[in-house]
Amino acid sequence: MPEFVAQSSLTARGDAKRPRRSLFFKYFATLFVAAVVPLILGAVIEASFGYRDQRRHISEVLQSEARGAAGRIEAFTDEISDQLGWVVQFPWAQGDDDRHRVDALRLLQQVPAIVSVSLLDETGTERVFVSRLRLNRTGRGIDLSADPAVIGARANKVWYGPVQYQHESEPYMRIAVTGNLPAAGIAIAEVNLKLIWDVIAAIRIGQTGYAMIVDDSGQLIAHPDISLVLRGRTGSIDFGRIKYLVGTTSRGAVITGDKGNPVVALSVHAADIGWTVIAMQPIVEAFAPIRAALWRSSLLIALGVLIAIALAYWRAHRMSGPIKQLEEGVERIGTGHFDHRIGISSRDELEQLAIRFNEMASELAISQQKTVRIDRLKQFLAPQVAELVEHSAELLEAQRREVVVVFGDLRGFTAFSARAEPDAIMAVLREYYAAVGAVTTRYEATLIRFAGDGVMLLVNAPVACDKPANHAVQLAIDLQVAVQSIAGKWCAAGHAIGFGVGIAMGTATVGTVGYEGRLDYTALGNVVNLASRLCGLAKDAQILTDRVVAEKVKDAVPLVSIGKHVIKGYDQPLEMFAVAQGNLPLTRPDSGLRRLEIETL
């Protein structure tokens, strides 16, 4: 379960807000829609079409069974009326009763369902009565001319009476038939309807389907379970309701059957006798094929869901691993581990992404190293040089160019350092370097080196600047102001220290010089020596320049020539210039005195 491990580690990092499992659910939803929805649709469509077909098929079966049953029942009653027709063929004659009696007895023998037969003459008077149960009668008997059977038979030749229940249990009906000759009289048979049970019980629709007969009033006449019939009118099942619900549709209806279970039922009406045959099949059996299909589909759907879950889990797992790696990798890189590499080999876009991340990390590492190096360099080199070292090293290559060299030097420092405590010396130097550094940075000059109390600055190399001479003079003035202001403090502390500056301009060889492990940027040439000499000649608070500088800045800064002096290394005495005192905003009141002191040192 690496996924869950990932989740818990995330939680530990307090990053639980992100829903990690959503990937799984997204995949699942997609696969579900792709695989299970078509299955469900298929199942529903199959079920509905199957239902329609099965419904039609069942309707056909039920219809044919019900029709068959109705036909057999009509055959049953037709046979009885036909047989009755035989005993009303001859007219009644004197002394003929016995012949008619034998006819009636033979009829009983012929048709088991007939319980008794009455033979009436044309007046409607009973002449012969034979029965299976009661005693036979022969001879002129009761007048039945007002009996509905007689009236009905006279009207329609054949009359079917209503169903009646003997002992409130056994269904009976009377059938009356007249002969072709009115003189032949009328035969009335009492029929035990239990005997049509055979017709109904023989009907099997499928395994559990059956048929039943009800009359127009909804009374049960025949049912495979004869005991339901024998309950007569006391039965608890309302067959009239069933008959009503089934209706007369040829498609069959889904109703609650007499056993309380849902059934598909269809009815056929036997018009002659006014009975209805209802054929029914329990739904459980009728739609068993559809149920089987539904179960099959359900299984498929369940399988589909399982496959969707498995695939979704697998895909999500495949995704979450690399994503976790990416996430951890980015986090590590974010915390500065630029050497971290993300190892994903999924041969897809994720691997591509990891490669990009790795590339980014290495770029970041290089950039980081550069920055660190520059920062380090800046501590030792002039910031400009340090930048150039990294970015445009060619500028540092040896070349000849016009530069302005500025030398500065403390006056009286040697004496001071000889008698002062090391702490005081270092404190003075620290303040001095800080002041020089601040001005150098402000003027973006290149600080070549500090050497004890001396400092060498370069203007216009390696970075070129506009009007380097003016720039250098302004720098020197600011340098004087800055150092003089702290020198005042030193004097107040009893240390007589002054500061002089020399500036020279000319062509020099500039570039880096050194060996592997130590590089210096430096300038070589007469101009450097000249600046150094000028510095050496300069008095406290004085700025000396050569002629070149003086020429360049004469319009901006007033310079005063202080005559020609012989300078070591030069054959001819060189004219030197000093920045006019007015341009040096020296505010120290005792500067003149101090200057004297320093000069005498």
């Binding site: 007895l105 088991p112 249990s169 056994e170 024998l230 608890s236 889904v254 849902p262 329990p282 539904l294």
Partner: protein, 321 residues
């Protein structure tokens, strides 16, 4: 397609058909067979036939506990019967009267008399008690039997009527017989007896009477001794009328009534339904719808009964020659 139908369909389709029958078949049912007759018992054979055709196997899923004896002995047995001892009791004839006190065990009966009159059921359509079964319509057929006897032997004037008074419904059966006899100009001689023990005595009485025909009410006791009765009738040259075909097979001249064996076979149906949990109170009492007229030609010949002129032969359902 109506939506309601479809919902019903789905509901019905998802419901597994319950297979309860197979589990029920594991149980061994105990059926109490109680009769005033004795073995061999043709009624029991019919009932067993019925059970067999319904898939019951004796000793495997059904046990028949048979109790034979006179009514007082049976009462003794019945008084010791407790609920739960048996699943169902089946009784015939006088034994049903003895069973009448049993209220908590389903009882199936086969009666020739009227069970409503006996008080074991409230109506034929709806018994409403722990009793149900079959009635043979003996009472209704009593007159018919005399009529048929008169049809075959129009000359008979005096009729000996053998009747087991233990039999429920016996007085009304006798009354119906008397009425018919009066209509047919026959003088009946009532020969009552109580149980198998008094039968020989009764036959002596009947033999001493100057009867020219004999009518025997159908009953378990006379059924057991049917051969003896048939022999007696033949010895005294009496045309005899019985209730069931078995009497004719044993040598009686005529019988008219329902087929006993078929009725008992059929009773097994009800036994099955009650064992499967149906309430006897709502199972209607069955009445036979088929009656068989049986004639023994051999006996007729021995008695010299002229059959050609009567309509009896074509009316007979079964002719024994």
């Amino acid at each position: 397609m109506k939506r309601r139908d479809f919902i019903r369909l789905v509901a019905g389709a998802m419901a597994f058909p319950v297979i309860a029958r197979a589990q029920e078949a594991r149980k061994i049912y105990r059926i109490f067979w109680i009769s005033t007759g004795s073995e061999p018992d043709p009624f029991l054979d019919g009932f067993r036939d019925g059970l067999r055709s319904l898939g019951y196997v004796e000793g495997k899923n059904v046990v028949l506990e048979k109790h034979y004896g006179n009514p007082s002995a049976l009462r003794q047995v019945i008084s010791q019967l407790r609920r739960g001892d048996v699943d169902l009791a089946v009784s015939s004839g006088p034994a049903t009267r003895a069973m009448a006190t049993v209220k908590d065990i389903p009882v199936l009966f086969a009666l020739s008399g009227d069970p409503v009159a006996l008080g074991v059921v409230k109506s034929l359509a709806q018994p409403g008690t722990n009793f149900t079964g079959s009635t043979f319509l003996s009472l209704e057929l009593a007159g018919k039997r005399v009529e048929l006897l008169k049809d075959i032997c129009p000359r008979i004037r005096r009729l000996a009527v053998l009747s087991n008074t233990d039999h429920p419904g016996e007085p009304s059966e006798w009354r119906a017989t008397q009425q018919t006899c009066a209509g047919l100009d026959i003088v009946p001689t009532y020969v009552p007896f109580s149980g198998a023990g008094e039968l020989d005595n009764a036959l002596e009485v009947a033999g001493d009477s100057d009867a020219d025909a004999m009518l025997v009410f159908p009953d378990v006791v006379t059924m057991v001794d049917r051969a003896k009765l048939a022999e007696f009738a033949l010895a005294h040259r009496l045309p005899s009328m019985f209730g069931w075909s078995e009497y004719c097979e044993a040598g009686g001249l005529l019988s008219y009534g329902a087929n006993q064996r078929a009725t008992y076979r059929w009773l097994a149906n009800y036994a099955d339904r009650i064992l499967r949990g149906e309430d006897p109170a709502v199972l209607p009492v069955i009445r036979p719808e088929k009656f068989e007229l049986v004639i023994n030609l051999k006996t007729a010949r021995l008695l010299g009964v002229e059959l050609d002129t009567s309509s009896i032969l074509f009316r007979a359902n079964k002719v024994i020659s």
